[in-house]
Amino acid sequence: MLQINRVTKQFGGIKAVDDLSFRVKKGSIHSIIGPNGAGKTTLVNMITGVYKVDSGTIFLDGADITNISTDKLVYRGICRTFQNLEICENLTVLENVLLGFDKYMDKSLLKSCFRAKSIQVDEARYKQRALHLLGLIGLEKLADQKAENLSYGILKKLEIVRALGTSPELILLDEPVAGLNPKETQEVSNLIKTVVADEVTIILVEHDMKMVMQISDYITVMNFGKKLAQGTPEQIANNEDVIRAYLGSGVVC
């Protein structure tokens, strides 16, 4: 589905992502792991058009999507969440989820100013769908709460649900369980599994190894911007290069 060909991104003298290539299979959970500073978030930012790639190409289902801006990619079925929570705290929980449906909504000025019937009808319909999505994470009761009043863990889940509103074919989750407790982590894992069952492909950037090993179909390991290894969770768990990158080279001082 997604094909990344030799992409490179340089910041000053540092190659954050260096000549990286891999493919993501449709309907799979593809994890990207690596030590801090390995270039994982940079990679996500390149796929979602936040950063321009220095060289290389990115293809989605055979179409070139290199350097297309984030908002346009949403219309091609790519959506993402953020490592550092990006939630509109001035909106309610429900409004945040409704924002996910934004690409389907009619926002013409005249119709909005004069309260066109069609907009009212659409809004009611999307409200039902948004409430349904909130139900997936058991948050219907908090629908009318301002997002700023809610805990970090809830907002992390809210971000994923908001992304689902865009009915994406590919979701990039940048550290979705960072800072969550084990129970919340399990809930996010379950949510991700439900999503994948609907034929959605997921790219997961995460440090929580237990979760990654549990739910991934395939893992790509990065270190210093390069691909260190790739394979199924079992292959990665037994890969010596990976163990060395995470735990040091084995030289005892």
């Binding site: 984030t70 959506c79 939630i87 509109c88 924002l99 934004d102 926002k107 100013c113 992304a163």
Partner: protein
């Protein structure tokens, strides 16, 4: 019917106040202050949409209103175009102007955006002062009377009715807009541009639209003010007028639908109430603003909304 057209209690209250208040006016001066309050309210509604909802600061709206007024006035006096049509042309011109400058300026954020709008405002103010052949320079210029299809506006009551209707209509449209998906997009830009972008919203496009809208409203109010007072001078476009408008919005309540009106009315009337203090007028004016901001940091409208919320809660 009220529900069908979304005419809520707040709009009815506003209309009632606007109808009742003139009965207490003792002379033309009261009308004058009321009309200026209404026109300032109009500009502040647009500015509130930009600052309070979309989160983009502008320190140039006084200048935009002034420039819009000048365009309408000059078209009328130099080229003999009827007032209504000259306001229309001024609106189109200012909309194009606002759209063009919005593209580079609204890429900036926070203080830098404030600086940029301040710069544009000051440039406009200087141009109006210097181009004296066209604008009459710092002396200003007199303005022909306002006529609509041959019907002349010469009494204060006529002006009051015109401005009051315009205000109610604007606030009705504004309420609809804010409660629509479009309004949600604006608020999401204030909340998190990254989040808005990640769900497919072209943030810079919406920033431009809301900026143009606010400038259009300022142009309408600015030109009406010029026709009403029969005179226009560069002080309408001055930096201090821009600041005054921002203070009105902040004091009234950023991001509150009626905040703009409350702020504009209070700050237009306040200096008149304080004239008896003579030399100390400005001092007291400043002190009142400081106290309001300390005790009502979210603006005066927020206090009203909190009260309403509490009454609502106690009813349950």
């Amino acid at each position: 019917m009220l529900k069908r057209y979304n005419i809520n209690r707040d709009i009815l209250t506003l209309s009632a106040i606007l109808i009742i208040v003139p009965f207490f006016f003792q002379n033309d001066f009261y009308y004058e202050i009321a009309i200026v309050s209404l026109l300032n309210s109009l500009i502040c509604i647009g500015l509130n949409m930009l600052m309070g909802y979309a989160g983009q600061v502008s320190l140039g709206h006084g200048a935009f209103a002034g420039l819009g007024g000048y365009i309408a006035v000059i078209l009328g006096s130099k080229y003999g175009i009827t007032p209504l049509f000259s306001i229309f042309i001024a609106v189109i011109t200012m909309a194009i102007f606002a759209f063009i400058i919005s593209k580079p300026i609204l890429r900036l954020k926070g203080h830098y955006l404030a600086m940029a709008t301040l710069g544009v405002g000051i440039i406009i103010s200087i141009v109006l002062n210097v181009e004296d052949e066209l604008t009459g320079g710092s002396d200003g210029m007199s303005v022909d009377s306002f006529t609509v299809f041959g019907y002349e506006f010469n009494s204060s009551l006529q002006w009051y009715v015109l401005c009051a209707i315009l205000l109610v209509f604007t606030i009705w449209m504004f309420t609809n807009l804010i409660n629509s998906p479009f309004g949600r997009v604006l608020r999401s830009i204030e909340g998190s541009e990254k989040a808005a972008n990640s769900v497919g919203i072209n943030v810079s496009h919406y920033k431009s639209i809301v900026f143009v809208l606010s400038v259009v409203i300022a142009t309408i109010a600015g030109s009406l003010y010029a026709f009403f007072s029969g005179f226009i001078s560069p002080s309408e476009a001055s930096f201090s007028h821009s600041i005054e408008l921002v203070v009105m919005v902040v004091l009234g309540g950023l991001g509150r639908i009626y905040g703009a009106i409350i702020g504009a009315v209070i700050l237009t009337i306040l200096p008149q109430l304080l004239t008896s203090f003579e030399d100390y007028q400005t001092l007291i004016y400043g002190a009142i603003i400081i106290f309001v901001m300390i005790f009502m940091p979210k603006g005066i409208a927020s206090v009203y909304e909190d009260l309403k919320g509490r009454l609502f809660a106690s009813n349950k």
